[in-house]
Amino acid sequence: MLQTIALSSQLGTNKTLAVNVNDLPIVLFRDKDDKVVALEDRCPHRRVPLSLGKVIQGELRCAYHGWTFDGKTGACTNIPNLSAKESVPAKLKAKAFIVQEHNGFIYWQRSDSVHVALPPAIFSQAIYLAQNEGIANLTLSMEAYRSVLFDGPEMLISLYGIGITDYFLGDVIETEYSITIDRAADWQLTGRKPSWKSPDYPLIIRSEIFKHTTCAKISLLNSTEQVLIEVYLSVVPDKRSTSRVLWQARSYQAYFDSAPLLNKLKCSWRKNLVKVHEILNANSINKLMLGPSARLQSINVQ
């Protein structure tokens, strides 16, 4: 299985990036061809995180004693102060992982025995008005995050000028690749929940969880099911039951074409219509009524 572990933009040239998948520490860096490589974030010499070290000509040098490692194979290529006649024993290696860059993410392959195909494009349209990305670190487990995405996405994300209701539209739809549920939404400059007295909610929020991954998507649609905004979220399980959410979002021309005049005016100068919350209201999440997320337990979503 492929697991997203970072945004491509997080990793500059000659930099290291430390990430965790549960309790497994991984260090990412770019080799001399600028390709992403990954090692276990632990020097096999004295266990110091390799992410504290320096990238030297596409290889990673440990900060403690200067042992240097190749990112693709994990082989130790240099131990300082060895004489010219001495070579580094072949068994001196750090653990290397297979990683690939795609869709603006860095994917880590859990098993290096079988090559896994890269996932399809994450957005439905190539032409967009604005694209944003970000990271949210949360004190919520991956499983809990995805269930709240299904039962109450407004607690996790905000879309500018949109109020999200908890009025579900139909039942959960399951396909080979994903499971989705729709709910109603309306134009609300304040972002508050629309009035329950309103006879019509013209917008749709679609929560989609992709099976066999830790990814999800929140889409904003109008009544003709044109996509106005898409938010793609990859939830990475981190240490101590926390989660790291890597997200990318696109807003499309259809958002402005569909919006009421006041919304158009207010949004026209904003570059980012999407906010993925890092600080969550625990009280509200606690009180969230169980809904379509009950179906997540009966299917294999990872």
Binding site: R42, P44, H45, V48, P49, A63, H65, G66, P80, N81
Partner: protein, 351 residues
């Protein structure tokens, strides 16, 4: 760098490697030893609190005497810890003042013996005349054994402390040898023709381009007390004591004293402050390193030949702990912690 091992032959190195996997530095609790638990100038008539492993020491002065107990003098539950093995049930630890420290006996009080206090030849035995500026206190976010490994290791200076002591990789010759007893390990390094370190040049005023240096580190295993004697020529001797007093498995405290009375101003005043630069640099790797040694693992640490002194340290510590686990707390006949180490430190030998 050439590692010369006086007393270890190649066959035993392989055996040691197999045994080195079970290195759990945070779990050592070696007893019947003296720990320097406080700078003497920190001890007044008001009790201060110190920790050795998991033992609490309250220390204060009553007149000319230093007193140490396992409960605060004002504590209403004074009798609560009177069954403490380390005080023999009396509630009082055995303490002595020497070399500018208050030393506390950690172990069976019946075995306390002042003859087991380490010899520190460059500090006055009565502790008089040590200026406060030659004393520092640094805390490390790692167990004391990892800190001692760091001190024994020589290959990290260029990477962690390059701007302070760097240039060692560029020396003409570089020889390391070590020797040990069952209670100590002594590592000596002799370097010729190395670029003068920044601290020597800009603070010490050494104008030569190159210098020779000899550095001996003498480690008492039970207490992780490190006595260091670096000599620089041209330059000065920078003797110092670094006692890595364990504060449980996660932290250690170093009340360091320098013996810089022969060094010129401002080097003698500023050199001790380098501990506040070098300490955090070491801590930056030791802090994340420490939790990775909490549990036994099925994979070994890899070593190079430059790790020989550190590997020997691991081996000796484990042997000592094994003996103590079997109830043997005695000092073997090859070990005399109080023996004169002036010659061992190279104080009378020119490099």
């Amino acid at each position: 760098m050439e590692i010369v091992q006086d007393k270890v032959v190649r066959g035993t190195i392989n055996t040691q490697r197999r045994k080195l996997n079970d290195w759990l530095p945070a779990q050592f609790d070696l007893r019947d030893t003296w720990f320097p638990i406080a700078h003497t100038n920190h001890v007044t008539n008001k009790a201060i609190r110190r920790i050795v492993h998991a033992q609490v020491f309250y220390i204060w002065r009553e007149g000319a005497n230093v007193v140490a107990t396992d409960n605060h003098p004002d504590c209403p539950h004074a009798a609560r810890r009177s069954a403490n093995y380390f005080t023999g049930g009396s509630g009082f630890y055995i303490v002595v003042e020497r070399y500018g420290y208050v030393w506390g006996w950690y172990g069976n009080p019946e075995n306390a013996n002042e003859a087991l206090l380490p010899h520190i030849p460059f500090l006055p035995q009565n502790g008089n005349g040590i200026p406060n500026y030659m004393r520092t206190t640094i805390r490390f976010d790692a167990c004391s054994a990892l800190s001692v490994e760091n001190l024994l290791d020589l290959t990290h200076a260029d990477f962690l402390h390059g701007e302070v002591v760097g240039g060692e990789g560029e020396a003409e010759t570089d020889e390391v040898f070590f020797e040990h007893t069952s209670e100590t390990i002594t590592r000596t390094r002799m370097v010729t023709g190395k670029p003068v370190s920044p601290i020597m040049r800009w603070v010490g005023g050494v104008r030569a381009k190159y210098q020779d240096f000899r550095s001996t580190l003498h480690v008492h295993l039970r207490s992780n007390l490190c006595i260091s004697y670096p000599r620089f020529e041209p330059g000065f001797d920078v003797p110092n004591v670094q006692p890595f007093v364990p504060s449980g498995p996660y932290r250690s405290r170093v009340d360091q004293i320098f013996g810089l009375d022969k060094a010129p101003t401002p080097f003698r005043q500023l050199m001790p402050k380098v501990a506040f630069i070098v300490g955090p640099q070491d801590n930056s790797v030791m802090r994340p390193q420490n939790p990775r040694y909490f549990n036994l693992e099925d994979r070994v640490d890899f070593h190079s030949r430059f790790d020989a002194p550190g590997n020997r340290y691991r081996y000796l510590m484990k042997k000592l702990q094994e003996r103590q686990n079997n109830g043997d707390f005695t000092y073997s006949s090859d070990a005399d912690p109080g023996a004169d180490i002036s010659e061992l430190l190279g104080m009378k030998i020119k490099s």
